[in-house]
Amino acid sequence: VSDCVSDIRNTVGNVPMEWYRDFPHIGYNLDGKKIYKPIRNKDELDDFLDKMDNPDYWRTVPDKQTGSDVVLSDEQVQLVNRLQRGQFGDANFNEYEPQVEFFSRDVMLHPVTNRPADKRSFIPSLIEKEKVSKLVHAIKMGWIKPRRVEDDSRGRYYDLWANEDSSILARHKMHLPAPKIPLPGHQESYNPPPEYLFTDEERALWEQQDPCDRKLPFVPRKFSSLRQVPAFSRFIHERFERCLDLYLCPRQRKMRVNVNPEDLIPKLPKPKDLQPFPTTQSLVYRGHSGLVRSISVSPSGQWLASGSDDGSVRFWEVCSSRCLKTVQVGGAVKSVAWNPNPSVCLLAVALDSVVLILSPSLADRQVVLSSERLLSAPQEADANEGAGPVTWSETEGEELNHGIRLKIQHPKAVQQVSWHAKGDYVASVMPDHSSNLQVLIHQLSRRRSQNPFRKNKGLVQCVSFHPVRPYFFVGTQRSVRIYNLVKQEMTKKLQANSKWISSMAVHPGGDHVICGSYDCRLSWFDLDLSTKPYKMLRHHKKAVRGVAYHRLYPLFASASDDGTVIVCHGTVYNDLLQNPLIVPVKVLRGHEITHDLGVLDVTFHPTQPWVFSSGADATIRLFT
């Protein structure tokens, strides 16, 4: 069949064969003769049978140009299959030939193209600049407007809790997170280290204990693996208790105030800014052989008098620490006081039951003469002289040569002497529990003594005259009483808040008093402020023995048995509203503690910021 088909050549070309549908022929062969259509006498049934019978039916296709059936060969079928799969028609063509890498990321020694980069790649583009400047111009002219922010006023968002009750909100704010359960420790482990496991005794103890006393609410147990751990039988119970705890236990927010401890300290000026004050030991006055109970500086500041337990009064030159004069008075000297009046030169000395008035003749001849005149005033022929408790007597012979002028014999041991600022009156103290005869005021010019107090108001420790006004300060064991000598009445009673007052000093202005006490305190009284201490200073470790004010500088000092002298700055103001400024400025050491006694007396130089201290080590020291 195929031979005859190959002979038939249709020469009509590539034209639609429908054109020949109504003709008996379908074209023309090479000779120009009509090619007739094969006789199609097969109907559907034949076709079906053919499909069933002919095994090559599936590869038989009609040839449209000749109208005859062509059976495709195996090669042709394969070709059709390949084309249908989208493969190349040629079976021998390898489409996966290895590719030759012409272009790679590696920079080659010889590049494929060696063209330099364009100039435009590294200069700003003029076109872009033009575009940007156009945009800028448009923005400037207002042609382009920035994107409008979408306003939220239409209420897309709103406060969900705006209508909520404020108390509920406050509770939200005050929400306190529940305390966390402590993290499980080694005991809770299913495989705890052996030291956490209970021994038999511990277990017995645990079982004996009341459930609320137990340290652990469970017994640690050991399992070989997690799989072995049984279900926790008390889980529900424990959760419930936890919830109960959280529900029932009230919780409170603790307000913690953050305070800087530095802010609690009051602002005080630096000691450096409060100079001058004594800082270093300059001179030591050696010569006494017993403890030096009392010292006093002459009003001119040239001489220092000291009284000691060795029974002598010594006079020292301040600037050279030279002892110029020694007066043996025959008894432990309790107190010495230099007459504050610069026109006389007298020293009162208290020892045993005698007050001696010494004229050391260490001053100008005129001054010595005037003091002699004061002492040798005509004695009043008092009628009650014999009845008085005190006998005045002039000294003679040896004692007179030593400068002892007057002897005032007291009935009891005298502890302290104190001069009035004018220098005519001297007060002496005889501490006694049971008598009203504790303080005596002597008048030198008239050689008269009087007892100002009728009643015993307590053990008198020290007395002092007011520097300018007619007041008299009496320091008893617990308080300081201030008497008006003109009106003869008590004006004030200062409560010292201490057990036992040892010493007292009156400010040169007269409105302030400091008291030292045996219970280590120093109290400053502002007489205009209150009868209670304005300030208590507890800087000393042991009993305070002596206190002193400086006459000119705002300084005061206290001497104590701990062997130190503490110098404090104390400015007082004329303004009544302003409280005194008290700043401790210096601790002066130097005295050795002997027989548990340290510094016994302290006094300031009248004109320089220097302080003298006398101690139980038989020395007097000058600090400048």
Partner: protein, 423 residues
């Protein structure tokens, strides 16, 4: 170790080296530099014997290594350092120790004789060799200050000031060793703590605890001045066994608020006084008025004036020696503080022949020799005394004297460096 460029120069003709910069290690100390100079001098002059030198950098003595010194003084190490060198001041050699019976309060010495005042109420005259020549007794109280007035051949006039409020003018013949009290100067009402004679020897000035300065005539006469008797004489006539004729002051200078502790004459018309009221005052003797006041902050114990450098040196109770310019107008400018003492400075004295050196005595038992070009540390500490030092002196002949509370007057021979005269 870094190197420095240094140029050495000196005023001393004997030790001049070439004026060229040398490169020296920055860590050099004085000894190293001294060795360098000695090497250079040996190279120039084979017969040179080794001399110790001290070095000055911009007028300050070198005491540490050069780099540290320049660091603290803020001198650049980049430039050539000018190093001046002077022959090292040799330590004063102790010579004599003159024992007294009591504390020595004051000393005044000249080329031949030493005069000391003592707390045993006497003054003593010693020869320079340390031989006691004469005891001047007459005061009834401690002698606080002494001074030579003048010497005419064998007769000398001397002054003693005492706590008994008088001054005594004595005439002493050194050949016959005869002493005569010529005048008793009365007028002070406090202890007379300081006395000074003017350069001509015709007047003297005294300062007292009664805050006054008094000018007296130092010329001995044979007439007593009239003394107005106090109106009310004491009942019993005081035994007026008086030494010499009474003399009253020519002039009283008042102005100090506290005791006068030291006086001196700057020149024949000017008196300078130091006081416990924290001031130094300069007075005009002609008019009796105060010229200037230098205000300090502490009590002044002593002053000394050097006509060479026209500076006042003051010793005060706060351990410092301060230098002042008495001619300054604004008053209270301290030029320099010398601090090394640990107690009150009780005595200062300028070197009579050297404008930079002074000697000071203090309550810390030390006498110190200072150079103002080395204000941090003294040149030498003379630790001979066992107690407080009260007085120092320095004579023209190079003898330094110090006395104190250990009753001893020490003298030190000080080889005055003539080389420093122009330094």
């Amino acid at each position: 170790m870094s190197q420095l460029q240094a140029r050495f120069f000196t005023e001393d003709k004997r030790y001049i080296v070439d004026d060229v910069p040398f490169s020296i290690p920055a860590g050099s100390e004085v000894q190293d530099l001294s060795n360098v100079i000695n090497k250079l001098l040996e190279a120039n002059n084979a017969s040179h014997s080794k001399v110790e030198f001290d070095f000055l950098v911009r007028g300050q003595f070198l005491r540490t290594s050069l780099s540290i010194h320049m660091d603290t003084e803020g001198i650049s190490t980049e430039e050539v350092v000018e190093l001046e060198y002077v022959e090292r001041i040799t330590a004063p050699e102790p010579e004599e120790c003159m024992m007294h019976d009591d504390w020595i309060s004051s000393v005044d010495a000249d080329a031949e004789w030493i005069l000391t005042g003592s707390y045993d109420k006497t003054a003593r005259i010693w020869s320079v060799e340390g031989k006691a020549v004469m005891t001047v007794a007459g005061h009834t109280d401690v002698v606080k200050d002494v001074a030579w007035v003048k010497r005419d051949g064998l007769t000398s006039l001397l002054l003693t000031a005492s706590l008994d409020q008088t001054l005594l003018l004595w005439e002493w013949n050194s050949e016959r060793n005869k002493l005569k009290a010529r005048h008793c100067c009365r007028g002070h009402t406090g202890s007379v703590d300081a006395v000074a004679t003017d350069p001509t020897g015709s007047k003297f000035c005294s300062g007292s605890w009664d805050k006054m300065l008094k000018i007296w005539s130092a010329v001995p006469t044979d007439e007593a001045d009239e003394v107005e008797e106090p109106a009310d004489r004491p009942r019993k006539k005081q035994k007026t066994q008086q030494l010499g004729l009474t003399r009253t002051p020519l002039m009283t200078l008042s102005g100090h608020n506290e005791a006068v502790s030291s006086v001196l004459w700057c020149d024949s018309e000017e008196v300078c006084s130091a006081s416990w009221d924290h001031t130094i005052r300069v007075w005009d003797v002609e008019t009796g008025g105060m010229k200037t006041a230098l205000t300090g902050s502490k009590v002044f114990n002593c002053i000394s004036y050097s006509p060479l450098c026209r500076r006042l040196a003051s010793g005060s109770t706060d351990r410092h020696i301060r230098l002042w310019d008495p001619r300054t107008k604004d008053g209270s400018l301290v030029l320099l503080s010398l601090t090394s003492h640990t107690g009150w400075v009780t005595a200062v004295k300028w070197a009579p022949s050297h404008e930079h050196q002074l000697v000071s005595g203090s309550l810390d038992n030390l006498v110190k020799l200072w150079d103002t070009r080395s204000c941090k540390a003294p040149l030498y500490d003379l630790a001979a005394h066992e107690d407080k030092v009260f007085c120092v002196d320095w004579t023209e002949s190079g003898l330094m004297l110090s006395g104190g509370a250990d009753n001893k007057l020490y003298s030190y021979r000080y080889s005055a460096c003539q080389t420093d005269a122009g330094a």
